[in-house]
Amino acid sequence: MITRIGTYLPVWSGRGGRQAGPDEDAITMAVEAGRAALGEIGPEDVRLVVLVTRDFPLMEGGNAAALLAGLGLPRSTDVVERVGGAPAMFDGLTAAEDATLVIGADAAGAAGAAAAWSGVTGGTLTRLARVHRSLPLRARGQDGVVHEDEDPRLQRERGLRASLEASELPGKPISVAGLSSRDAAAWCEGRPPELPTTGASAPLFALAALAELRSGGVVVAVDQATVSAGTWEPGAVVVHRQERPALDAPTRRATPGPEIKLSFAAYDRAFDAKLRWEAGACPTCGTLAFPPRFRCLGCGEEGSVNLVPLPRTGTVYTATTIHVPVPGLSSPYTLAVVQLDGVDVRALVPVTGTGPPSAEIDEPGRLVFRKMATRSGISDYGYAFAPGGGA
């Protein structure tokens, strides 16, 4: 049963929905949604993570370590990376056993992510039908090039209608994920919930809305000619939405290279503390060091450091917005030194999800998992400061 649902929308408005910021990708959004879904659920209660998206940052090299680090889950957690849209996500949800976190993320186009944690209480999604048919009017191959042959009527009649008929549903759906809101309404009974995305995250945005409305019925997920359908029986589902009102994206100017390559040795040394937001704690005197360091700042003890989680809220000690072009980055961008709440630790981090102008001194906010840069083709993840905190 789906016990908890978390959703995330990037703050930037775009055409047909929200758009991912320059520091966001499927992994960072999956982390936001996953953390929103988990809430107080501890790592011991997550046995499997299923990430469904068409926008995996890496096809080779691995996304799972960064995903688990961002979610705060152990490295031993099983991760399934599943390429697909709304039906693939739907299948992931119907198949989920207890203690599974299923996340759908959409980074391209209308962006967003949603995650569900399955437990022993909550809403029930029961599979009714699954139809795989091929009508790939939009296709993307190994080369990454999108081939699109726009023919909405062919798509509707020979794609969706034919597959829905083949599904032999017991009645009209109350929600269709994978279509624009207007198109979805045409297939539904009554007025379906408005969904902010049309990809892998869409089915969970639908279930989140239905859970909030306490509505049940037939729900469908579509992707061109592919359909998955099921019955949703709402229960006591905890829905946590990480969705701030949309802002107009600021005009940023990207400056081409020269790129300074990633040092993989430095990447490796920093990985756990940087992606898990952990400090080194001196086993002798308890002094925290961020980043972790060989010699303790407090007592001089050397060589032994335990990693401990850092608070994820803080206030700006100082900040600056850089307006000049910097190769490989988009200007303007803001950097802040943030005093973390309740510990004697500051962090130098980029500011995300606002302005410029952004990040006033003394402004509170929270630390969120983001992409610091793309170097040597790799997403270099870390934490950014989101002013305003709250949500």
Partner: protein
């Protein structure tokens, strides 16, 4: 310790020397220095050289100095210590002479900033100066590095962006008479404030230009001074101070502890205090850095540096003239050369022959801060034998 004096000092002009490589600039500075030695000197007098160069250009630095200057029979040491590079080359040469290891030493500082494109220089250099995993990907370029300090300083102190602008105006005015300076035009406070932003609170006119150049000094032991001049300039105090490297570890960003430590060491060695300084060359890569440094060097009380600005005490003719050469802001800033060029200016000031002379200057101070504000150098010079 044996007393040490500077008997010759010279520099190339600072600017975008696209037509001159490091192999030209270095010998040019040495020849300029040689022409300032009152009684002349033979190159064979030089027994050792220290070469300050921050970024390696056109190859192996020590070899380039020896090769380009015809000094193939002496030991040469390259010094790199961020923006303190030039003064640290001098400090090490003074150690060599004071110890008696050599009697006559050459100090050269040089850098070719504009060997890389104007747009990418500081980004390229950042790879050398930042933690590769934690700082580098964030885009902590040089202006941002100092802007984080100055923004906090302006938050806590009564000073405003106008005070920063007034420092830029002053340094541009000072540079007008300096034939070696890169930016020799006067500007107004309005121009500074309305200039395009670089990194808040710094606009374009709050920032040093990108410069190429070289400077050289001849440093000798006290018994040899009279062989070269009757008007030596004595090295009376030297200090080097450091601080934590990463910004998140700097507890109070309204001050530069590296400067405080370097100044304390230099004043103690000289046996004097800030009130004794007649003229100073202060590190002004960004205007706000000069303002904060007034306090760290003891020229102003904490958070009262702006009062010195408002009283125009930092102009030539004021209580504590700062950067009569135009400073890094207007004279230019090829980092390896900068500290050596500051000492060149002060050598001329203490001999009464600067193009922007401070009347009756007898004791002078040079200051650098750099290496993400983690290293500082302070040198105190005296016209009189200590």
């Amino acid at each position: 310790m044996r007393r040490v004096a500077i008997v010759g000092a010279g520099m190339t002009s600072f600017g975008e020397h696209f037509d001159l490589g490091i192999k030209e600039l270095v010998p040019m500075a040495v020849t300029e220095m040689a022409s300032s030695v009152d009684r002349g000197f033979e190159r064979s007098d030089i027994q050792a050289a220290w070469f300050g160069e921050l970024a390696t250009t056109d190859g192996f630095p020590s070899g380039i100095l020896a090769d380009s200057c015809g000094l193939l029979d002496i030991p040469v040491t390259r010094v790199e210590n961020a923006c303190a590079t030039g003064q640290d080359a001098l400090r090490n040469a003074v150690f060599g002479v004071a110890s008696g290891y050599v009697d006559v030493a050459l100090v050269v500082g040089a850098d070719k900033v504009r060997e890389t494109s104007a747009r990418s220089t500081f980004w390229d250099w950042m790879a050398m100066t930042r933690d590769m995993a934690w700082d580098y990907p964030l885009g902590l370029v040089a202006p941002a590095n100092f802007a984080l300090h100055v923004r906090r300083y302006l938050h806590e102190a009564p000073a405003t962006r106008e005070h920063l602008a007034m420092i830029a105006v002053k340094n541009h005015k000072h540079a007008v008479t300096n034939p070696k300076a890169q930016l020799r035009q006067e500007i107004t406070v309005e121009q500074v404030l309305s200039a395009p932003m670089v990194a808040e609170p710094f606009g374009v006119f709050d920032c040093t230009p990108q410069s190429d150049g070289a400077a050289a000094l001849l440093v000798v032991g006290e018994e040899l001074v009279s062989r070269y001049t009757d008007r030596p300039v004595w090295v009376r105090g030297m200090g080097n101070g450091v601080d934590r490297v990463m910004h998140q570890h700097k507890v109070d960003m309204t001050t530069f502890p590296a400067t405080v430590k370097a100044a304390k060491a230099a004043y103690a060695m000289a046996g004097i205090g800030p009130a004794d300084i007649d003229v100073a060359e202060v590190h002004d890569c960004f205007t706000g850095v000069e303002l904060m440094s007034y306090e760290d060097l003891g020229f102003a009380e904490r958070f009262r540096g702006h009062e010195l600005v408002e009283a125009r005490d930092h102009y030539v003719g004021g209580r504590i003239p700062v950067n009569p050469s135009g400073g890094l802001k207007a004279k230019g800033h090829p980092p390896g050369a900068t500290g050596v060029a500051q000492v060149t200016e002060l050598f001329e000031q203490l001999r009464g022959e600067s193009t922007n002379q401070v009347d009756g200057a007898r004791i002078a101070l040079a200051h650098n801060i750099g290496g993400p504000t983690a290293v500082s150098a302070v040198t105190i010079l005296d016209a009189d034998r200590p």
